[in-house]
Amino acid sequence: MQRILITLFIFFLEVSKVWAVQVHGPPEGFYSHILAHILFTISILFILYFSRRHPMGAGKAWLYFRISLILFLLWNLDTMMVHFLDLRLPEEALYLSPNPFEHKLYGPLTFERWVYYIGRFDHLICVPAMWFMVQSLRTFYREFKEQKVRN
């Protein structure tokens, strides 16, 4: 057991540089991460299609749930786009000094770099997505609790 833990520790230390919304240096990590994103995207499309084909219900909870899924879909597309743009970005385009407040994205500020820069604000999509998810669950909870009380 101890040996397994040591092996795992070494494995985590030895893996090469991976960036999260971040960059994934070595191609395997990047590909698997992108594939995971694609899978996530397809699954969202699938559940949206499925819920449309076989309506699971109506009301606010379902509306919030669908909005949440659509936002997560957009977030996935955004993050995948940023991942690909990050790959295309030359190393000298980013100034990464020890002080993070001084970190910069150098010009020339082309459309692609603007997209990259704006795309990196992905939390502006995923936080509302998660908020709608919470609202959906909250509404479900309230509705079903009321129904249970009524019954």
Partner: protein
Amino acid sequence: MESLPLYPVYSVDFLGSFLMLLLSLGAFRYSLELKRHFPQSVLFMYLFGLSSAFVALSISRSIGHMLRFIFIYAGVPHWWQDLAPVSGSLNSICFVSVAVLTFVYPSVRKIIHRVRADAEQLKRAKEELEAANLKLQELYHTLEEKVEQRTRELLASEQKFRRLFENSGEVIFFCDAGGRISDINPSGVKLLGFSRKEEIIGRPMRDFFADEDSWRRYVETLCKKGFIKDFEARLRSHDGGERYVIITANTIEGEEGCKRGYEGIAKDITNYRKMTEKLIYSEKMASLGQLAAGVAHEINTPLGIILGYAQLLKKEFKDHPELAEELAIIESQAEVCKKIVSDLLSFARSSENIRGKKFINLNDCVIQTVDMIRHTFEMDDIDLKLHLDPELPEIYADDDRIRQVILNLLNNSRDAIGKGGEIHIWTFVSGEQVIIEIGDTGCGIPPEIKDRIFDPFFTTKPPRQGTGLGLSVSYGIIEDHGGTIEVYSPPKEEKHLKYGLKTVFVIRLPLGSHA
């Protein structure tokens, strides 16, 4: 602008990560509550899985974003470089988990729906089965009650009809398709002269019909019409006697319409018929008596004149033997006619005869008459055997006329026997009557003439050997005494049969009254 600062991105990441963490925990909490409250909901299970994956994703990403900023700011960026792949991989795993959950959810939902539908169906089937079982139990109880009630009713009905069948005075019988008696009530058994039903069951009904033609008509009508009403028939009983019955019967048809036999009721009308016959006979004899009396009275006077004048002329012409002889013939023939007229008057119950009645002993009449003819009878080898009751009471009667009746009957017996035979005479008391029975071992009386033997001038003897008034006169005398005379040929009683008697005359006279 030559460059864009990244700290706004880091700030949004930092804050966003924190919010993501909070929101995902909030989502997890609601999903957990939902799952707890509705453990059977597939949707909430899926949402719980989704929330859990989002919590993991939020933790991974949020920690990643925040630590990256902190590590870089703290001057240990290589720490972040070591942790980043772990964070990235965790993110990937979370994405895959969410995807797998999402892909699996519809299938699980479908399967669970099917299972639930099956369970629901099973539940419904069970409920239906229970309801059916309940209904069946109710039905069973109802059926049981109904069967019990029907059985009771059936039993009551059966007992009712059984009592009717067993106690009915009429004959009730059932025959199978072959005409064999399958059941008959005690009255039928008695009528047919048997002691047990089993002796009759299985025997053809035809055997009991005395007349073949009657049987054929009975069967033909029954087969043709399906029923027969008030059919008069003569049945032959086990002891050889005959009973007159009126049969009403109908065929029994099976479910397919085929005849399974017939059932019927027979009413014994023997006594009624005998009484009717007697009545008719009495009426006939009364009419004949009136006629005979009228004729006798009308003839008696001219006959007396003829006889008187014949006797007078015979005296007048006694010197003329030829004439006297012819007048003697006229006189003798007139005497014969007078005798016939006298007999006719006897038959006609002339009131003049009442004068000779007195209390007499019937045994004395029998003995006197037998003594008178014994010698003649012995010449024909005929034995006269007397079975006289010594305690016989006296009756009020005309002894001469009673002797005449006995003599007539004995003469008839002798004629029936011819040479060699026996004549038995019984006297006894039965109830309020004195009975005298005279039986012989002669040839018997053919059934076809049995009804006519008491008719005046009816005789089976050759011409000039009998007037045919003997039995008529006897009948008249007995009727005149308020009694009856009957003939049994063949006799029925054992005491007659054991002596081999073929004909028995039974005379009943009223005991000790002025008839």
